[in-house]
Symmetry: C2
Subunit: 136 residues, 2 copies
């Protein structure tokens, strides 16, 4: 295995292009200040109708319009063909400028309302927050 990792560095935004990412590391580190991502994995209960799931996901996406600290919202349905998806069917990725931004989101009435609506329909969930490092 080759030595690796020296070409990894923090990134400030998913807007960052590969060209921008090749700038000196110090500059890129500065850009990275506070950027945090949250990944949610959902497995919905069998009794929740597919069109209800679709509506919940659509409504969840609207949080990006309602919560200022939430900077971007991505979602994808599982297309795994192998390995351990553990039955999760939806991935949601949220991007915040800071951990404070996550705290603001957590306490925002729109999030709290969404949480109350979606929670009873989840068989299981994983939520994990992290500061991404890019290596390309």
């Amino acid at each position: 295995m080759l030595e690796s990792g020296e070409n990894c560095f923090e990134v400030g935004s998913w807007k960052l292009t590969m060209e921008e990412a090749s700038r000196p590391k110090e500059k890129t580190m500065e850009e990275a200040k506070g950027f945090v991502r949250r990944v949610l994995l959902f497995k919905f209960k069998a009794e929740t109708a597919p069109d209800h799931i679709e509506q919940l996901i659509k409504d969840h996406s609207n949080l990006v319009n309602l919560v200022e600290s939430l900077k971007s919202w991505h979602m994808g349905k599982d297309v795994s063909v192998k390995y351990s998806n553990e039955g999760f069917t939806h991935v949601i990725e949220l991007t915040f400028e800071s951990t404070e931004g996550i705290a603001a989101y957590m306490g925002h009435p729109a999030h709290l309302e969404m949480h109350e609506r979606i929670w009873p329909h989840l068989e299981k969930i994983v939520v994990i927050d992290y500061k991404p490092t890019l290596c390309n």
Copy 2:
């Protein structure tokens, strides 16, 4: 809850800027062709030393230099303060241009070697593939 979801669309690359993302939907859909992301959540065994974990992660990041179909590699350590991280400590995000790209990665000798090295150290893992939709 407001109506939502109409402003969601497929994105072709994480390089896409917010300005580019506001182009007409048809253009953006075209860019999205085949783009697939894989998220891995790792929880390492308690007996694996932290510096060994660091080395495994560094070596895993090097796959982006060895496997052509792997277009970007991001990693972050858990910084969750609440909720259900289920004990996972590392998130790795891989981006491929297509599901065929994932298949090529899965069969690549460098991936297979890495898989054999990292697997014995994992207490649990989730791997999920999805085609991201952006809403911002």
